[in-house]
């Protein structure tokens, strides 16, 4: 349970970090919070030859809140994002989700952007990025680009980032005040990765649902976003929410693994979706 040897690099600017990534190529790995990377290094599931520790790049520690978006720097710790009252007001689902991410000691070190690019299919924050229609800002020595959430996640622990690219920030759009969100999951132990998880977003104006979407995690190899807007015809109070939940999960095809059977995961998804719908329908 000790990592194999590597060479340590500690750049103090994004420019330096990108230069190192370019020079060292695929043998290098970026270290931010390390709460996913170091366990797999300890278990020797990963053995990068070079570690680029970005923890001293202060320009990456910023949280910026505008009228229309929240931009989270690559070094923002989960705990700092979770306790930021401006973020909680602008995009409430971020703080709602972070309460489910591991434990306080992990959240104190782990970063939200790191969790997103780690792209664990059972993790909450990739699903939150998908639900909010967010983007990831990545950079390399040749320039910057944005990757939309629906193009970012391509498989378990796999993203569409290219070699030499580093995540700089994640951007979460701010919804109108009429948006209601919730996130819920079932895990074997509190703080563990989810067996099944649901993040729900309803935009409700005068009792009518203008738009609705649900993002599932731990139910496929990537977060699954389902648009439910068409299911909400007429006033919210009169709807059969169980029927909406049944439609929402109809396209899911979870797989068996050592933690749960596919049928159990699907049942969890259906039940959690129904509960989330009920919760948001009752909310004022």
């Amino acid at each position: 349970m000790k990592p194999s040897r590597f060479t340590y690099h500690r750049p103090t600017s994004v420019e330096q970090a990108l230069g190192l990534l370019d020079e060292l190529g695929p043998h290098a790995k970026v270290l931010a919070g390390g709460q996913s990377l170091i366990p797999i290094m300890n278990m020797r599931l990963a053995a990068p030859e070079h570690i680029i520790d970005i923890n001293r790049i202060h320009e990456l520690t910023k949280i910026t809140i505008d009228d229309d978006k929240v931009v989270v720097g690559a070094l923002v710790r989960h705990a700092d994002l979770q306790s930021d009252s401006g973020v909680a007001a602008a995009v409430p689902v971020i703080a709602q989700a972070l309460g489910l991410v591991a434990h306080p000691a992990i959240r104190n070190r782990g970063t939200t952007v790191g969790s997103i690019v780690h792209a664990d299919p059972s993790a909450e924050m990739p699903a939150v990025l998908a639900l909010t229609g967010g983007t990831l800002q990545v950079a390399s020595v040749t320039g910057q680009r944005d990757i939309a959430a629906d193009e970012l996640f391509i498989g378990p622990l796999e993203t569409s980032m290219r070699p030499g690219e580093m995540a700089i920030s994640a951007t979460f759009p701010v919804g109108p005040a009429s948006v209601r969100t919730t996130i819920t999951e079932v895990s074997r132990r509190h703080g563990d990765y989810a067996l099944a998880g649901v993040a729900l977003r309803l935009d409700v104006e005068n009792g009518d649902v203008r738009s609705a979407a649900v993002a599932y995690f731990a139910l496929a190899s990537v977060p699954v976003l389902v648009d439910l807007t068409d299911q909400f015809v007429g006033p919210l109070s009169g709807l059969d929410l169980q029927a909406v939940a049944d439609v929402a999960v109809a396209g899911l095809e979870p797989e068996d693994d050592i933690h749960a059977t596919a049928a159990y995961r699907l049942q969890l998804a259906r039940t959690l979706t129904y509960r989330a719908l009920c919760q948001l329908a009752e909310q004022e």
Partner: protein, 166 residues
Amino acid sequence: MTDPEVRYDITLNINGTPYEISVPARRLLSDAIRHDLGMTGTHVGCEHGVCGACTVLVDDRPMRSCLMFAVSAEGLSIKTIEGLAGADGSLHPVQQAFRDCHALQCGFCTPGFMMTIAAGIVDNPAPDADQAREMISGNLCRCTGYQNIQAAVLRAAQLASTAVPR
């Protein structure tokens, strides 16, 4: 292995004292504390961040020392279980509470719990029973069944609120 492993000369600030050590990049903070510095109060359980036994305070926040490299910890202020009691040997409120509530049996997990709770009752000086459970949810104990540890959280908060600040 052919070439000797490159070592890095670093200074770790632990319990207010700077320590100069020479370590390979892959040295975990937990191992630097235990092996290089001989402070064996910090325990190592799972080495992948699940059990919480290795929890130390980094800039006053509880973190897993098995999930940090010692080289990354340069310049940060680290507090271990050895630094919890007062300089005169007086017990920290958390230590006193563990004694009062019989919150340990074998003691292996105890340093991690104590560091977690020491920071937890600063964040939340008056936790209720649910908040106490949430506070210790990231630490595993295989002896006590947690009831007495939960009681110790409440007792520690009570003791800390009446203690003379040091």
